[in-house]
């Protein structure tokens, strides 16, 4: 009897999942279940796949979403041809890849990009050629200061500051250490946000910028130990965090300070990777909805990845961001009355405003002006055994660099 009950419950749960998955999958684009045909609409992405860390999660999610769109009527019947180029973390390669996509492939827009080098290399090209790039993940400063470039993440500066803000305000910390790699346009910029926050709140901040090619995390952990701060934030990709956390564990630094990590650490494999020493000791900033969130878009993201993605595609914040960028571009293209070309795509994308998703803390917009940063609110989570525990509601990043963005939003019409 008990066995039957379990089996019945399992079947009901399975059917519910299948049904909700099918429903969610139907929401891609037109959602009519008809395979798109005809002349493809070209969209491109540039990612840093080959290099110190694989930064292609965002474009892989965008690819899955576009496949779903193509299986559901495409852009009013036309399929999307999505081309992803690897910049190998090399600005020259990034420039060549963008030129190829913009001038040879003739993309109407870029979506889902994620790179350490492409913004600096290609911002001018996108402006000159009238291409809008809705990146999944912007990494260095240039990604948030391009006229035609916008991303769905908050960026490492906001996210590292978000983690710092949470641990300082929750635990009333009186000193901080910010650690970041010395990548041009990255390390100093990332820790600069924490420094300005510290200055405004009378909290001394020690910054440790290290050589990203440095093999040993212990030398960095020793500098953190020497700083004797009450809080430590690591502004870097998760792969670089692990050796530092390992070394810090060996120095038992998890007990003497509170540790904050940006959203790059919000990955399902992190609790296992960091080991049990760090469980309950790491506070992670989330730029988007928690992965186990049950909102319709988050459910749709998971369903799309399940059906159209690869099993190996990461399910992380960057994947969520890539999915959202593909959705915005799809919605913009679907709104075009008439021919879909670069000019009409650009207009449709830059005119996007008050675009809502349960995955974001606030509505998204492209906005006017020379730079764009629509996402600047996030949540905090605690890394626990087997996952993450959400600790806070959405909160605003207190970065002085956001002054122009907040002023623009206050004028109205973009988010409300």
């Amino acid at each position: 009897m008990k066995k039957t009950t379990y089996l019945g419950s399992a079947l009901v749960i399975a059917m519910t999942f299948v049904a909700s998955g099918a429903m969610a999958q139907d929401k891609c684009g037109l959602g009519n279940g008809k395979k798109a045909s005809g002349e493809p609409i070209q969209i491109g992405a540039i990612v840093g796949k080959t290099g110190p860390e694989d930064f292609s999660s965002s474009a892989r999610a965008a690819d899955a979403y576009f496949k779903c769109v193509n299986a559901n009527g495409g852009i009013n019947g036309r399929p999307i041809a999505y081309t992803i180029q690897d910049d190998t973390w090399n600005p020259e390669v990034a420039s060549q890849a963008a030129n190829k996509l913009v001038k040879d492939t003739k993309v109407v827009a870029m979506a889902g990009s994620s790179s350490f080098v492409e913004c600096g290399a290609n911002n001018k090209l996108y402006v000159d050629e009238g291409v809008a790039s809705v990146a999944g993940v912007g990494v260095p400063r240039a990604c948030f200061f391009g006229k035609n470039y916008i991303s769905f993440n908050q960026g490492p500066r906001q996210s590292t500051l978000g983690a710092a803000q949470y641990i300082v305000e929750t635990f009333k910390l009186k000193s901080l250490t910010c650690v970041a790699p010395g990548i041009p346009g990255f390390g100093d910029w990332v820790c600069g946000g924490v420094e300005s926050y510290g200055k405004a709140n009378n909290i001394p901040v020690k910054t440790v910028i290290f050589d990203p090619g440095q093999l040993d995390g212990n030398a960095i952990a020793l500098q953190v130990a020497a700083a004797k701060s009450e809080g430590v934030v690591l502004g870097m990709p998760r792969g670089m965090m692990l050796p530092i956390l390992t070394a810090a564990e060996q120095q038992d630094l998890g007990k003497s300070a509170k540790w904050g990590l940006p959203t790059s650490a919000y990955h399902a494999d992190m609790p296992k990777a960091v080991g049990k020493y760090w469980h309950d000791k790491l506070y992670v900033h989330m730029e988007l909805e928690p992965m186990d969130g049950t909102g319709p878009d988050n459910t749709n993201w998971k369903a799309v990845m399940e059906k159209f993605g690869d099993k190996k595609d990461p399910r992380d914040t960057f994947s969520q961001a890539g999915y959202l960028s593909a959705r915005v571009v799809t919605d913009a293209l679907l709104s075009i009355k008439g021919n879909v070309d670069r000019k009409s795509a650009y207009q449709a994308i830059v005119n996007t405003k008050k675009w809502k998703s349960d995955m974001m803390c606030a509505p998204w917009y492209f906005g006017p002006g020379e730079r764009h940063q629509a996402n600047h609110k996030g949540r905090a989570a605690q890394l626990v055994k087997g996952g993450f525990k959400t600790l806070s509601e959405c909160y605003q990043s207190k970065d002085a660099e956001l002054e122009d963005v907040l002023k623009l939003e206050a004028k109205g019409g973009l988010v409300n």
Partner: protein, 294 residues
């Protein structure tokens, strides 16, 4: 001194792994005349295989054996089946062939394991030597130092006291004459490749634990190892060990100098270039070039 000491000790322990890797490179070069660019990739493979076995919840020691065994077997296979067919090629061609081998291993490992966050934990991580109330050095790093010392002494003994070492030295001196007096070149070369694979596997486990468990990152372990071997003129094991430790210490101490700390990874190049310049100035060349006799 209190500030310097931890950086010095950490530098010595990382330098020991560079030295261990350098010893593997020198032993192979002395016996077969091949500069092995695949050394780091073999180490990376060892670390990944070890992690995989432990992740499948087998005993830790099985992971270590599997990891080191994989690197050793692959290196043996290269030495047994591929290297002999390149024996009469130019030295540069043989070195480039190992680079191709490295890229293959790295590519396959990266494809299979991807870039997910993971960590190789060794039981020696939890213990360490304390100083001034703080952990100065973990037992893993002490083990790395001991392995480097043991490998150097073991290789010196092998080269000086065993018949295999004698045959290796004979090949280093003159491969053609060695063949004429009955030294089985292929056999000795294969042994050298096997030993290099063994040392690469052990170095890989340490670096996978101490640095980062990522096949691409570990593949580039070959750079400081190569720099250490250059200090030893691809010939002297003792100088190679000193070179490796010097690189590790300078790299670590650079963290104490503001402005220089973000360029620490250039240490290997700087040390190698200075060593080569100094050797040239004093008329010291690479390990005896016997390629014209092949």
């Amino acid at each position: 001194m209190e500030t310097l000491l931890p950086f010095l000790v950490v530098g010595i322990s990382v330098g020991a792994v560079y030295a261990l890797s350098g010893v593997g490179l020198v032993v192979l070069y002395r016996a077969s005349g091949v500069v092995n660019f695949a050394y780091g990739a073999l180490g990376g493979l060892a670390a990944m295989v070890c992690w995989q076995v432990i992740d499948l919840e087998y005993e830790d020691w099985m992971g270590w054996v599997a990891g080191v065994g994989a690197a050793t077997c692959l290196s043996w296979a290269y030495g047994r089946f591929i290297a002999p067919s390149l024996t009469h090629q130019d030295r540069v061609v043989r070195a480039m062939a190992t680079l191709g081998f490295a890229l293959m291993i790295m590519g396959i490992a990266q494809w299979y394991w991807g870039d997910e966050p993971r960590r190789l934990v060794l039981p020696t991580d939890s213990g360490g030597i304390e100083f001034d109330g703080r952990r100065l050095i973990s037992h893993t790093r002490v083990a790395a130092l001991m392995f480097a010392a043991a490998a150097t002494v073991g290789m010196l003994w092998l080269l000086a006291k065993t018949s295999l070492g004698l045959r290796m030295r004979a090949l280093q001196s003159n491969r053609t004459l060695s063949a004429m007096v009955g030294v089985r070149i292929k056999n000795v070369d294969t042994w050298a490749w096997t030993l290099a694979g063994l040392l690469a596997g052990i170095s890989g486990l340490f670096m996978g634990n101490m640095v980062r468990l990522n096949p691409t990152v570990l593949t580039f372990l070959v750079i400081p190892a190569m720099a250490a071997a250059m200090v030893g003129r691809m010939n002297s094991l003792t100088a190679t060990v000193l070179g490796g430790i010097a690189i590790g210490v300078i790299e670590s101490m650079a963290n104490l100098v503001p402005g220089v700390q973000r360029y620490g990874s250039a240490t290997a190049f700087v040390v190698a270039i200075l060593a080569v310049l100094w050797q040239q100035r004093h008329g010291i060349g690479l390990s005896r070039d016997n390629s014209h006799l092949e």
